[in-house]
């Protein structure tokens, strides 16, 4: 893992998890640019990708300062190896169809809204400021995804079946949202941010009404485990990084 020089290594690790979630989902969503089913959604998804990458820039810059080794946002975004990324597995799985994209955005968007709300009270004032800024954007992202989940879930038989299948497939990945470890516990003890296992009730309060209105059924919880935020990723991550890192690795320090 990344060696931390800051007083509290859990602090850096905690911020990297936040940063990598929005960086990697921003990368995934940007794949829709030029490919969305209608131009309005092409613009919406591209705009959300921009917001997420903007949040990632703020968080990675902050992480670079905490690390104290002189790495900037670009070095952290583009020059780490797969095992040094700390994003949730859910955000790295491929987009596939539009229904699956909006289901993922809804599940993750609700998590972000809940998490940013709590982080506005962080003892890390820079993180609290980033949270207050990002919370406003996350509410729009969640709202957008939730409206589509309702429209498709409560739409035709075909659209309903597709988003229910997407939900069944993606739901188990949300187990990882609430998985806690010593980093989480240390960050919570230092007042940096909430431990992940304290967020589930608020998340369900945001997600379940959307599913009900969409006439979708929340799958039962299973023991399915993923470990992206601990640095062990799915087979999709390497492919995503190959695309994302290509330019910086081929032309180090390139600017235009």
């Amino acid at each position: 893992m990344t060696q931390a020089n800051s007083a509290n290594p859990a602090h850096l690790e905690y911020v990297l998890r936040l940063a990598d979630n929005v960086l990697i989902l921003g990368q995934r969503i940007s794949e829709w640019c030029g490919h969305a089913p209608v131009i309005e959604e092409d613009l919406a998804l591209s705009n959300m990708a921009l917001d997420l990458i903007g949040q990632a820039r703020l968080l990675l810059t902050h992480a670079g300062r905490l690390e104290g080794r002189g790495r900037d946002e670009d070095q952290l975004a583009f020059l780490r190896v797969e095992r040094d990324y700390r994003n949730l597995t859910l955000v790295e799985v491929p987009n596939q169809d539009f229904g699956r994209t909006v289901v993922r955005n809804m599940l993750f968007g609700a998590f972000q809204v809940v998490l940013w709300e709590r982080l506005t009270a962080s003892a890390d004032s820079e993180l609290a400021a980033i949270a207050a800024k990002s919370l406003k954007e996350a509410r729009y992202h969640f709202s957008h995804a939730a409206e589509w989940v309702v429209r498709l879930g409560d739409g035709t038989a075909l659209s309903h079946d597709k988003v229910q299948a997407a939900l069944d497939e993606l739901w188990p990945y949300t187990n990882e949202f609430f998985a806690s470890d010593e980093t989480d516990a240390a960050a919570a003890a230092a007042g940096i941010g909430p431990a992940s296992n304290t967020l589930e009730a608020d998340w369900e309060n945001a997600v379940l009404p959307v599913l009900a209105q969409a006439t979708l059924v929340a799958p039962a919880r299973t023991p399915f485990k993923t470990f992206g935020k601990f640095g062990r990723h799915s087979e999709h991550m390497g492919h995503l990084l190959a695309t994302m890192q290509y330019m910086q690795r081929t032309y180090p320090g390139a600017q235009w």
Binding site: L50, L58, K136, P209
Partner: protein, 163 residues
């Protein structure tokens, strides 16, 4: 030597690159100006984290202050408190409307999580005034604007979202 008043006046003439009908000061994104012996420090707050206009705004601010007589210009970014569309002044709101962009309605930032359709509202068309309008998409040509359409005059228009 450039005074703070003169610096603010220079910034009043810097248009937002994506909505040139309002200035960066009217938009409320200039938080502070400090002048010290001709060296000017401008504190800017971003509207959205990923707003692609941020860097262009920085260049325009620098150019305007150098043209007004600043010896050097430094830019600082301040995130807290987060920018809100509530900081757009009354006069600027009318300029937006005349330009075809409905200004943000109501107060921004609901306090609690509101799962769905919390942005639903009726807007009057900035061209014909009809309230027979509908939202086409929450995310328009920029993150800060939604795209709407008027069913009376059949024209599309933009809505500056409250945030």
């Amino acid at each position: 030597m450039l005074t703070e008043t003169e610096a603010w006046q220079a910034l009043d003439a810097v248009p937002d690159p994506e909505i040139p009908v309002v200035s960066v000061t009217e938009l409320g994104i200039i938080r502070e100006v400090r002048c010290n012996d001709g060296a000017v420090t401008v504190v800017v707050t971003p509207t959205y984290s990923g707003c692609p206009a941020t860097e262009v705004i920085g260049l325009a601010v620098r150019d305007a202050l150098l043209a007004a007589g600043a010896r050097e210009v430094a830019m600082e970014t301040q995130l807290h408190p987060a920018w809100t569309s509530d900081w757009i002044g009354e006069a600027a709101r009318e300029k937006l409307r005349a330009y075809g962009i409905v200004p943000p309605e109501g107060r921004a930032a609901p306090a609690a999580v509101q799962p769905i359709r919390f942005m639903r509202r009726t807007l009057a068309c900035p061209r014909c005034g009809s309230t027979d309008t509908e939202r086409l998409t929450e995310f328009g040509s920029t993150a800060c604007k939604a795209t709407w359409r008027c069913r009376a005059c059949l024209e599309p228009f933009e809505y500056f979202k409250p945030i």
